[in-house]
């Protein structure tokens, strides 16, 4: 934090105007974009929620968790099972379904909340043993948790339909839902981070022993961040499921791969920066879609290249490694893109302009 130069009321107004402006842009995009571009636009928001929530756990609190895909999967399944109608469920579950699950049916909003709550509940349960560990051990344990959830989903035929997955999930995740949730996520998490609790979380990241000596209940605060992060992971899972419309417990959709994608986003954007996570998510979503071109046959400087499936993952990995070598703290580092910082940069530019 640097000395304040803008009034709080100015910042609040700027934020409101910014949100309205973005809403207007989204409205135009929603009207004019074709179906494919709209899906990418929505994916950016979903990835944004995933990245911001993982950033709270990994970047702000310094708990290196790799279990995010597990929470996303829990949220996705919980919400999808709630929005699918009993008839649809009866049709797609070839090996029978638990009767109480079949009967459950709610609207999309309640289902999303339930997905988040379920993920948060699981985070609370596994947080007790997992957060007793730290560093690499914690990473392995949380990764293990995500795998356990995935393999459970692969085998619990009567609850999750096993490897067949859930199909024909209604495509409820329209632009307004996903961006509404993104707004709520960012508001909630940045409000948390820029309060006394957020400072305590950052203190734990910086030095656990000193934090303890300053009267911070380290375990309680880590658990808090873990549960809040998992809630929003669950929410993003629900949105993701209603965006994909088909979910199954494969490695690539909701397995460790997804965790690593989110990790790439937050490291690219800057661990510990909320706006950085959003930028990372947007870059990743767009880049990953744009690189699909590599998988089709194309001509590069007169050389004909045949399409290689999986090529984009290779290219993303190379880009990621290069970022890690030359730009270790990511795009934003731990800085935030706030009105305060923008104001400072502009006044600096202005001063330099006047000098020359």
């Amino acid at each position: 934090m640097v000395e304040k130069r803008l009034k709080t009321s100015t910042k609040v107004w700027l934020t409101i105007i910014f949100i309205i402006f973005m809403g207007f842009l989204l409205w135009i995009a929603d009207r004019t974009f074709d179906d494919y571009k709209l899906r990418v636009l929505r994916l950016i928001a979903i990835y944004g929620i995933m990245a911001v929530s993982l950033n709270l756990i990994n970047g702000i609190t310094g708990v290196f968790s790799l279990g995010h895909a597990g929470f996303i999967l829990i949220g996705a399944y919980t919400a999808s099972l709630l929005t699918l109608t009993p008839e649809q469920k009866a049709m797609s579950f070839l090996f029978g379904i638990q009767p109480w699950i079949e009967k459950l049916h709610t609207d999309f909003f309640t289902a999303t909340i339930a997905g988040g709550a379920m993920a948060a509940f699981f985070a609370f349960l596994i947080g007790w043993p997992v957060l007793k560990l730290y560093g690499d051990y914690l990473a392995i344990a949380s990764l293990g948790f995500a795998e356990v959830v995935r393999i459970w989903a692969n085998n619990a035929m009567t609850i999750t339909n096993g490897p067949l997955g859930l199909k024909a999930i209604p495509e409820y995740s329209n632009t307004w839902w996903v961006y509404g949730w993104l707004l709520f996520t960012v508001a909630f998490i940045s409000s948390l981070v820029y309060s006394s609790y957020g400072r305590a979380l950052k203190a734990i990241r910086e030095d656990e022993i000193a934090a303890r000596a300053m009267g911070i209940n380290v375990f309680k605060h880590q658990l808090l961040a873990f549960v809040v992060g998992a809630f929003f992971a669950g929410v993003s899972g629900s949105l993701y499921a209603h965006w994909l419309t088909t979910i199954d417990p494969r490695l690539t959709t909701m397995g460790p791969m997804l965790t690593f994608y989110i990790l790439i986003m937050i490291v690219l954007g800057g661990l510990g920066s909320i706006t950085g996570s959003l930028i990372g998510a947007a870059i990743f979503a767009i880049l990953f879609e744009w690189l699909r071109n590599l998988e089709q046959p194309f001509t590069f400087f007169g050389i004909h290249v045949p399409g290689i499936p999986g090529m984009r993952i290779l290219v993303v990995s190379v880009i990621f490694i290069l970022v890690m070598i030359f730009w270790q703290r990511g795009i934003m580092g731990r800085e935030e893109l706030t009105w305060e910082n923008l104001y400072r940069w502009f006044s600096k530019l202005k001063r330099e302009g006047e000098k020359s």
């Binding site: 934090m1 640097v2 909630f188 309060s195 006394s196 400072r199 950052k202 022993i209 000193a210 911070i216």
Partner: protein, 292 residues
């Protein structure tokens, strides 16, 4: 750090004399007895020094007091409360703050945020407040649901303002206001020490434990520090218990000194008494060889 099973608390009576009393405390690590039957304490508003050669067990005493270690034998009584089974964050909440031998700041946070972090325990330690209530002392926080207040900002903005004001005032009083918005890692060594002490003071302690505050300082800096510590005691009305290697610092400011060697207390008294104590000289300089 090992978490040892914590015993339930019991009611204790301390003599009026001591603010902090170590009651026959022994700390054993396997075969090594780091602290052996330490039976002494810190009197209210005292400036007590703890000295001794390297490895005498001084820092271990601090770690036992702040709850990082659970003593093998004995009890620690602070302000009439048995704090032996309590956890570090609870002990801080009750009023013991410490600094570290090798500075432990939150380096990526600003000076202001470092001090603000130290006030957070007032919002978030209901477990420690229950202990205070049980002993008939006023709790430090009476409101609940601070997490939801902090997130929704309802009934929180005023508190935040209060906290920032208090932190700024404290930073000014210790003379760091010129670096208020700098990151802690950007501060020179002497100012980092000062910040660490300011951060400890922000927890509103009754007892301040300073672990080698003058370590790594040149004579000029340690002289400034002596003045600073003396000033703190009177300005903030805290009791200070410090470990120090620099004899000049210890003799210059401490009212009473305890000397440890090999885990045991070998001498206790005023600076003058300590300087002429043959056992202390022996511990520091070695035994005189009489049969030359």
């Amino acid at each position: 750090m090992t978490e040892v099973a914590r015993k339930p608390q019991e009611e204790v009576k301390t003599s009026e004399e001591f603010l902090l009393k170590l009651d026959h405390v022994t700390m054993q690590f396997g075969g090594l007895i780091a602290v052996n039957d330490f039976d002494n304490g810190v009197k209210k508003y005292e400036l007590l020094g703890l000295i001794g050669p390297n490895g005498a067990g001084k820092t271990t005493v601090f770690n036992v007091v702040t709850g990082i270690y659970y003593p093998t034998k004995g009890r620690v009584i602070f302000d009439g409360i048995d704090i032996t089974p309590l956890k570090p964050h609870q002990i801080t909440h009750l009023g013991i703050a410490r600094t570290f031998q090798n500075i432990k700041l939150f380096y990526d946070l600003t000076v202001l945020d470092n001090v603000l972090v130290a006030q957070h325990h007032e919002l978030s330690n209901p477990d420690a407040d229950r202990i205070l209530k049980k002993h008939g002392k006023p709790p430090k926080n009476t409101k609940k649901f601070w997490f939801w207040r902090a997130v929704s900002k309802l009934g929180y903005i005023k508190k935040e303002k209060e906290m920032v004001e208090r932190a700024k005032e404290l930073i000014e009083r210790v003379g760091l206001s010129h670096v208020m918005y700098e990151k802690a890692s950007a501060l020179p060594y002497g100012e980092q020490r000062k910040l660490e002490i300011a951060r400890a003071l922000a927890t509103k302690p009754k007892l301040l434990l300073l672990d080698e505050p003058a370590a790594g300082m040149n004579p000029k800096e340690s002289e400034d520090l002596m003045e600073f510590i003396k000033r703190l005691k009177n300005e903030f009305k805290v009791t200070i218990f410090l470990i120090e290697h620099d004899m000049k610092v210890v003799m210059g400011i401490c009212e009473r000194i305890i000397v440890m060697d090999y885990g045991k207390i070998i001498a206790e008294g005023t600076p003058e008494e300590i300087q002429s104590n043959p056992r202390v000289i022996e511990a520091y300089l070695g035994k005189e060889w009489k049969n030359v």
